[in-house]
């Protein structure tokens, strides 16, 4: 008995090979959905970045950006995060060549680099807190921690997604097209990296 009938009309989302070529446009449902989700995320970070930019330089007490930021330190952690995009690309490339083992390895490396970044961020936050910048201290404190905190949560969710995918690949529990699943995680990961490039430029590099 074939399962072709439904797959042809792309009914179920993780159906039988991801529904490639069975949809009206030929695009995979999953990939289209991921792009829409990322489009929505643009507006989420757009709102948070706007809030930060609106309140830039308007704090009335507590330390300002130039008193807490350590550009060399954050440059290194930004570099680590950017490198994780490179390893993610390698993971996707290996997956598309059907080298799932190598893809798993590169995904693990990506997750480790991501975790290094998040660890760095936690350290940075404690450092800032020690210098007197709490969440409630000033407009700068509230908007900075909220923006970078949301980004950090996104990276953390990415790490969970990466490690979950690696685990599920190991126990062979990924339904559908494995390479596409890895590519989708990759799309999310690159998006989060691009957002960091914006945050690093607007928040850290432009002098207050």
């Amino acid at each position: 008995m074939s399962t072709a009938a439904v797959a042809e009309h792309g009914t179920s989302h993780d159906d039988h090979g991801g529904g490639h070529g069975h949809t009206s446009t030929g695009l995979s449902n999953n990939k289209l959905a991921m792009w829409l989700f990322l489009g929505s995320e643009c507006l989420l970070f757009g709102g948070l970045i706007s809030t930060y930019m609106l309140y830039r330089g308007r704090h009335v007490k507590g330390p300002g950006p130039d008193q807490v930021f350590s550009i060399p330190y954050t440059s290194v952690s930004s570099f680590v995060l950017l490198m994780s995009s490179l390893t993610m690309v390698l993971a996707v490339a290996e997956a598309q060549k059907r080298n799932i083992d190598k893809a798993k390895l590169w995904m693990t490396v990506t997750a480790v680099l991501g975790a290094t970044f998040v660890g760095g961020q936690v350290f940075e936050f404690t450092e800032f807190y020690r210098k007197g910048l709490g969440y409630t201290t000033s407009l700068f404190g509230s908007s900075f921690y909220t923006l970078t905190g949301f980004h950090g949560v996104h990276v953390t969710v990415g790490i969970i997604m990466l490690m979950a995918t690696v685990g599920m690949l190991k126990s062979n529990k990924v339904p559908g097209d494995k390479a596409e699943v890895i590519e989708l995680v990759g799309l999310y990961w690159h998006f989060v990296d691009i957002v960091w490039i914006l945050i690093f430029t607007l928040v850290y590099l432009i002098p207050a």
Partner: protein, 665 residues
């Protein structure tokens, strides 16, 4: 009929023939065996069928329509006479806030989702939406969020800042109760539902169309729904940010709205209205879609300028992003901003006017049938136009600054939302009831329903124009007896509200008698309205798999073109087939081996974890961790479960294909 080939356990396996070794449920993917072919209430709660989900959206939304309606009645009772004593000032604040919140987020939006869920797959010739389990997740998340918002009534009082909840007015200092916290997190949860639903429906519209159905052969209702889903995808994250900033200010002491710290009170206004203005099109465009289906059917003419209607819908969607600050003319934006937003607001009247003209020309020269569905559609054209005209007076900034925060505004948005959105939804109820339930609603009760609602709404909201221009402020909880004008017109409004309520009661009575009736006349024929679009090319109600054979589409209004053709000799349109013949032909070509997605527990688990996080934010931070853990576990279970049940999910395991072949050979 097509056979739905799901592995069934009741295939007779002769005892002792050594049933083939199968995987046991323990080795199955997922954490516990999934529900397979459940019965009774479990069939509804764990379903992923877009039709059942649509019906449940509708039922829950209607319950909240009643709740919001009762809140409105209390408001009108309070204002019926001078020095009203029905509500205290605090209760009055909560009442109008929750009335608006309920009507906008818990009635009109989910009711549009109900129609979209049920009819988009049917109109594009699909067997389900693109992501059936995400669809179920959307429903239960909405239900969880809706209940969460309303729990505030029992846990210290509702939110009291008005539906746009302007900060800093809604911060802890001015609204110390938990109402605003419940409101903010509850809407955050329903926002998740809207976002996932929107992504799902866009992918469905783009990717699941029947062969031959290009974008410009899509029924107009589906078109409008697609535009609305794009608005949702980009508008929801903005309100998400605003709600987070508010929650963090209230819960963790964030400084975002603390003016002493240099905060800008306009931040909230901008964020809210960047969401809020697209939101009004999110509310009204589905109804525009519904009447664009109803008018051609009951005028026996194709929709006049189909492409214009579709494109003007998309244009409203685009321009709708550039008009938000017309809600803020009185806030001192500066002359250039006011000018720009004033012009943009006048511009958006153009595509809306295009639609009104197209609907009117659709009826022009048509053979009109004044069924209740048609009456509601015509009602929408008239009432929405009145609301649209008062809207243009708001676009003129000098006039708007006089009208801001008066009842004139209240009159305007009730004409466009009640006369627009809600009339459209009622038109949809009467038009599609036979499709969904296989029964025709009673026309006599329907007409009473319509006329009471039209008279009621004009009596209620019409006088608000007058008292508004005379300066009666919005959100005023009582007035003095010396104000003779206010006394007279407010009394009329209250009488109107009761007429309106009576009209809605007629609808409820109509539903009850229709479903109680044993008269065979209530049973809907296959094609009761001589309809035009694809959803009527299947039985009433449709089977679980929607279509026995997925139709190939050649025309816009495919069903009409299968029934009618131009006779080249006389140049007249002649019927060439009946709906029954078209159905019979479909059955003859029925597809076998249709695999539908299977029910699942996981969407429900993930949905129910969200209010736990909400309680955590408000009462105890430990619950946040508990809720988040449940969410993550639920997502894991979900991602490891294939969307179509595998044979090892059955208890006892279903026999393999080979085994069945052997046995039946």
């Amino acid at each position: 009929m097509a056979i739905i080939e799901q592995p069934r356990t009741n295939v007779a396996l002769p005892a002792g023939t050594g049933a083939p070794a199968l995987v046991t449920p323990k080795e199955a993917k997922g954490m516990f065996a999934r529900p397979v072919e459940p019965k009774g209430w479990r069939d509804w709660v764990f379903t992923v069928d877009h039709k059942k989900i649509g019906i449940m959206y509708g039922v829950v939304a209607f319950v909240f329509f009643i709740v919001g309606g009762l809140e409105a009645m209390l408001i009108r009772l309070q204002l019926a006479a001078p020095n009203g004593k029905v509500l205290s000032a605090e209760q009055y604040n909560q009442m109008f806030t929750m009335h608006a919140t309920t009507m906008v987020f818990l009635f009109v939006m989910p009711m549009a989702s109900a129609f979209a869920n049920y009819f988009v797959p049917l109109q594009i010739g699909a067997r389900d939406v693109a992501f059936p389990r995400i669809n179920a997740f959307g429903l239960w998340t909405f239900v969880a969020g809706a209940i969460f918002v309303n729990l505030s009534w029992f846990l210290g009082g509702g939110a009291d800042g008005g539906w746009f909840m302007y900060a800093p007015n809604s911060t802890k200092m001015f609204s110390p109760g938990h109402g605003v916290d419940f409101w903010a997190f509850g809407l955050q949860i329903t926002g998740i539902a809207s976002l996932t639903g929107a992504i799902n429906l866009i992918v469905t519209c783009i990717n699941m169309r029947a062969p031959g159905m290009s974008l410009f052969k899509m029924p107009i209702f589906t078109w409008m729904i697609m535009v609305v889903q794009f608005l949702l995808v980009f508008a929801m994250p903005v309100i998400t940010v605003a709600l987070f900033l508010l929650s963090f200010s209230r819960g963790f002491g964030g400084a975002f709205f603390d003016v002493k710290q240099g905060a800008d009170p306009l931040l909230w206004q901008h964020l809210f209205w960047i969401f809020g203005h697209p939101e009004v099109y999110i509310l009204v465009l589905p109804s525009f879609g519904i009447v664009s289906e109803v008018l051609p059917v009951f005028s026996r003419k194709p929709l006049f300028g189909y492409k214009f209607v579709a494109i003007s819908g998309a244009a409203i969607g685009f321009v709708g992003w550039g008009v938000w600050a017309h809600h803020m003319f009185a806030s001192g934006l500066g002359p250039i901003s006011v000018l720009v937003f004033s012009m943009a607001t006048m511009m958006i009247a153009v595509p809306t006017g295009v639609k009104i003209i197209n609907w009117t020309l659709t009826m022009w020269g048509g053979k009109l049938r004044f069924t209740t569905a048609m009456l509601f559609a015509i009602g929408l054209i008239v009432e929405f136009t009145i609301g649209g005209l008062s809207g243009v007076t708001h676009a003129v900034a000098p006039s708007d600054t006089q009208q801001t925060d008066t009842y004139y505004i209240v009159a305007h948005f009730h004409y466009v939302l009640f006369g627009g959105a809600i009339f459209g939804l009622f038109s949809g109820f009467y038009y599609w009831w036979p499709k969904v339930f296989g029964r025709l609603l009673n026309e006599r009760w329907g007409k009473a329903n319509f006329w009471l609602m039209v008279i009621g709404m004009n009596l209620t909201f019409g006088p608000m124009h007058i008292v508004g221009l005379q300066g009666q402020p919005r959100r005023m909880y009582r007035y003095d007896e010396s104000n003779v004008h206010a006394r007279f017109w407010n009394a009329i409004s209250t009488v109107g509200a009761f007429v309106l309520a009576l009209g809605i009661l007629c609808f409820i009575v109509n539903v009850v008698i229709t479903h109680r009736s044993k008269n065979p006349a209530v049973k809907a024929p296959l094609d009761p309205w001589d309809a035009r679009s694809l959803e009527w090319m299947t039985s009433n109600p449709p089977p679980a798999h929607n279509f026995d054979a997925i139709p190939t589409v050649h025309e816009l209004d495919e069903f009409f073109h299968r029934k009618y053709a131009v006779d080249h000799e006389t140049d007249e349109i002649k019927q060439i087939a009946t709906a029954e013949q078209i159905m019979a032909e479909q059955m003859a070509h029925a597809e076998k081996d249709i695999h539908l997605p299977s029910p699942s527990y996981w969407p429900l688990v993930v949905s129910l974890s969200l209010p736990i996080i909400g309680f955590g934010v408000i009462y105890s931070h430990i619950l946040i961790a508990v809720g988040a853990l449940v969410t993550i576990l639920g997502l894991f279970g979900w991602s490891m479960e294939p969307s179509v049940a595998t044979k090892d999910d059955y208890e006892p395991p279903a026999p393999t294909d080979d085994a069945i072949k052997e046995l039946t050979a």
